[in-house]
């Protein structure tokens, strides 16, 4: 784990969702520092605000108040284009439902991510080939998601997320749709990537065993961080 300045810095973060006359305060003043290279697990019950925090850090939705700085970008001060740029350059997502483009092969899913990020997409560089080997999907690249198991799909999703060399990998319940064997494999891969590549990882999970793979576990409840043991 790095001791450099935090790659994610959150101060007084609030998020209010409004639907007509109804307002729901999803985040109620969150402060958080994540050093570069950390593998942070965020746990909490449904409605605790962990997904909202994840979405704001990933630039999928703007905060209502507070300051959020991700990889040197002040997410709270930029508009839609700025958040799009953040997603293109600095953060990548791994979702519970894999979210691979169903009509494309694994290779083309990865190439699409590279293309959107403005990186060469014709061929993969040797370093990335090594990651594909590590993920164990080198031989499955020409298959479509419907031709793969859940574990394979999630490993392709991780490969796609890492292809653009993101500063931060955001994993939202990455083992939620997998059996225990595949869950363990994915978690070990994430830990391995963190160790080998010094990849900063934020992982949301309900599962305490899964959370234990992180360097640190942060608990959330009712829109607040309630416990952050070191």
């Amino acid at each position: 784990m790095s001791s450099e300045a935090p790659i994610i810095r959150v101060r007084g973060l609030r998020k209010i969702y409004r639907s007509g006359a109804v307002s729901v305060e999803a985040l109620r003043g969150v402060d958080l520092d994540v050093p570069a290279g950390e593998f942070l697990s965020i746990v909490g019950p449904s409605g605790s605000g962990k997904s909202t925090l994840f979405h704001i850090i990933g630039g999928l939705t703007p905060p209502s108040a507070g300051e959020v700085i991700v990889a040197g970008r002040n997410v709270s001060a930029v508009g839609d284009a700025g958040r799009t740029e953040l997603r293109r350059r600095d953060v990548s997502f791994v979702f519970q439902k894999f979210n691979l483009l169903p009509n494309l092969t694994a290779r083309d899913n990865i190439r699409t991510a590279l293309y959107i990020s403005g990186l060469p997409s014709d061929r993969f560089d040797p370093a990335f080939e090594t990651i594909l080997d590590l993920l164990g999907i080198s031989g499955r690249l020409d298959h479509k998601p419907s031709e793969m198991s859940g574990g394979e799909q999630q490993r392709v999703a991780i490969a796609r997320a890492l292809a653009t060399r993101p500063t931060i990998l955001l994993a939202d319940e990455p083992t939620g749709n997998l059996d225990s064997k595949n869950s363990l494999a994915v978690l070990e891969i994430l830990r391995d990537l963190n160790l080998r590549l010094k990849q900063t990882i934020l992982m949301i999970t309900h599962n305490a065993d899964a959370a234990a793979f992180g360097h640190r576990i942060m608990h959330m409840s009712d829109g607040r961080i309630v416990e952050t043991p070191s």
Binding site: H55, G58, L60, T61, D80, A81, T84, E85, L86, R87, R88, R89, S92, F93, F95, N99, L100, L101, P102, N103, L104, D108, R111, T112, A113, L114, Y115, I116, S117, S121, R160
Partner: protein, 366 residues
């Protein structure tokens, strides 16, 4: 990569893609078929007018070149009078009566004078007109009506005996003796128009000027004028009709693509969310949607062009004489522009929906 993404999207739902292409192809086919029929009709008319072998056409006063003479208002003695003009070597007066709802006409000719201008008929079957109830068919019309020599046919509520089938290309599809048709038209000793052959085509303008001076009020046309007049643009009503079909094509294509792309955007809500989560900009998402619409429009154009060949084949099979359809290559880009324009316009609203989609909601879409 963007091309591959678009191509895979188009391929991924083949039924939707095929239906969209077919529906876009329909207006393209309609446009090309209508224009092809118009051009084909004019080309056929021009070819047959040229086949008369005349240099000048003399018509009754108050008529226009492309309008029907409306019976036989010209006294037949005009034919003889015109024959005495300087540089004129032959004249023939013909009577014309529309049949078949205005698509066709039967032409009364004087075989001797007609042959002097156009040369002898080439008979594929039978012989020339001899009796008042004889009728000649050209090969196109004979094929259309499945007629052979010896058969009796009903034209103008009269029974006629088909005595010959001739090579097409000389003025008419159906020929009868001039006096018989004059009688049926209640216009004895009158003709619809007169064809004039000169000693030298170079004298055409000179003779036309002389005729205009001598026969004031009677329209006189050179054959070159006639051939150049056979254009769709010279018939305001037809041009308007074609414009209306173009508009309908645009309208129809617009709604087909709008509906198709709207469905596609709904079906791919999650995929749009995935693209956005990877950092795809609004322009990128809109570009994908418009590129797909362009591909559908292009497919519709190609299929529409192919369909116009099918309609030509069907027309030729059913009505080769009455509905000759040309393949007007010059109109392919126009048909294509209508299809593409409609497709792109139709994709704009669904594209806007896709662009505005909230990535979180899109990712949660089932």
């Amino acid at each position: 990569m963007a091309f591959r993404l678009v191509w895979e999207n188009v391929k991924f739902r083949p039924v939707r893609t095929l239906l969209s292409i077919l529906l876009i192809a329909v207006p393209v086919m309609l446009i090309l078929t209508l224009e092809g029929l118009s051009q084909g009709f004019f080309e056929d008319s021009a070819r047959r007018a040229k086949g008369v072998g005349a240099d000048i056409l003399f018509r009754p006063s108050g008529t226009t070149l492309l309008g029907s003479p409306g019976g036989a208002p010209l006294p037949a003695r005009v034919v003889d009078k015109l024959a005495t003009q300087p540089h004129v070597v032959a004249t023939t007066g013909v009577a014309m009566q529309l049949i078949g709802g205005g698509f066709d006409s039967v032409t009364g000719i004087d075989p001797a004078s007609f042959t002097r201008l156009s040369g002898p008929f080439v008979f594929l079957e039978g012989h020339g007109l001899e009796k008042p109830t004889d009728i000649l068919f050209d090969e196109d019309y004979a094929n259309q009506r499945h007629v052979h020599t010896g058969q009796t046919v009903k034209v103008l509520n009269q029974d006629w005996t088909v005595v010959g089938i001739v090579e097409s290309g000389k003025l008419a599809h159906l020929y009868v003796l001039l006096p018989k048709l004059q009688d049926l038209m209640s216009a004895p000793d009158k003709v619809s128009q007169v064809y004039i052959k000169l000693d030298n085509p170079a004298n055409t303008k000179l003779v036309m000027d002389q005729l205009k001076a001598k026969f004031v009020g009677y329209p006189v046309y050179s054959m070159a004028d006639i051939l150049s007049y056979y254009q769709v643009s010279n018939i305001p009503l037809l041009q308007g009709f074609i414009d209306a079909v173009l508009g309908m094509g645009l309208f129809f294509g617009f709604f087909v693509v709008a509906l198709s792309m709207y469905m596609a955007v709904l079906q791919r809500t999650r995929e749009i969310g995935i693209l956005k989560s990877m950092g795809a900009s609004k322009a990128f998402v809109m570009g994908i949607i418009l590129s797909e619409a362009f591909a559908l429009g292009l497919g519709g154009t190609i299929v529409g062009i192919a369909f116009s060949f099918v309609t030509r084949w069907v027309m030729h099979l059913i009505m080769p004489a009455s509905l000759p359809q040309a393949i007007v290559v010059a109109w392919w880009p126009i048909g294509g522009a209508v299809a593409m324009g409609a497709a792109l316009l139709g994709a704009l609203y669904p594209g806007m929906i896709a662009v505005r989609q909230d990535p979180i909601e899109a990712l949660a879409y089932e």
